[in-house]
Amino acid sequence: MKNHRIFLGKIGAEKTISVYWFAILIIVAGVIIYMVTFVYGKPYDIRGSESEILSGNIANCLSEGGYLKENTLTNPSFKQNFLKICKVNLKTPDFPETKGEYYIEVNFYDFNTGSKLNSSTSGGNINLKQYCGLEGKTNPVCSNKDFYVIDKSQKAYSINIISVVNKADKNVQ
């Protein structure tokens, strides 16, 4: 009777160890899954970078080699078609229900007098601009940048580029 009990005890111990290893495996896997979800579960907010890249692309479109591109201010079609001329596509097929997730505004100022020129233009969803300066993670992200530029005739301008990116659903949770 005693011998029989020892025999069953050994088998039982092996079974217990198997269950133990299985439990440890589940705990380790669970912790790994938790940590990965913790780190990568929420999206990174890249709207700030996106708005900066937009501003940079617009600036590159307006100025080349330190000079304002010719006909930028004199060509009347630039004001209407600046997005097309600058090869900027503000369409957002991922957000079909909105009026647009981007807004870009370009303001030209006479550098010496500070007066705003008529050539100032904009494109995209103008409703997004009202959120600039407001705090809140789900609000659109604004980038307000200025740079100095001269034209070939040495007239100096300051150009202000405001770019706004909404896309809160895909960047903030």
């Binding site: 160890i17 133990y20 380790v28 912790v31 990174y44 900066e52 590159n60 000079y67 100095y148 100096a156």
Partner: protein, 171 residues
Amino acid sequence: MIKNKEKNQRFFGPSIFPKSRKAQISEGLTWVAATIAIIIILLISVVITSTAFDLNDREIIPESFTATLNQKSLMSYLLTREPGGETVYSAIKKDENLNDFNGNLAVKVFKGLYEKEYSGIWVGVSDLGFNIIGGRIGNDFFARISLIGSEAYSTMIKFAQEKAVEAVFVK
């Protein structure tokens, strides 16, 4: 009737000597200690992960992209002609420092446009042969700024082998 020892030998193969109760307790304690160690290590990992990754601050700060516009401003500034007809670049190259006209223009351009965005701005001539701090030649228009422990961005255009016009922006 088969003896217990023989039975064990047949069933467990290489384990010729069955473990005594004392050995079994000792082995059990080892498992308990190992389990506790594993759980502690896992808990430490979870705590480190939770503190190292702040989920409330998952914004990628755009640093490198803003540089484009500052570089453009510096380029246009250097191409601006002085009343004498020469460019700011040529005047700085000749004088190896800022003069009245281009110094005041630099203040108007860089402080005027970027003062809100940066806590410190310096524009002037840098001697690239020196170290970073000693290389910035002082001028009457921009006070020296300390870059130690600060987040700064610098853009420069060389005009001689070891001389450059530099604009420094401190966050």
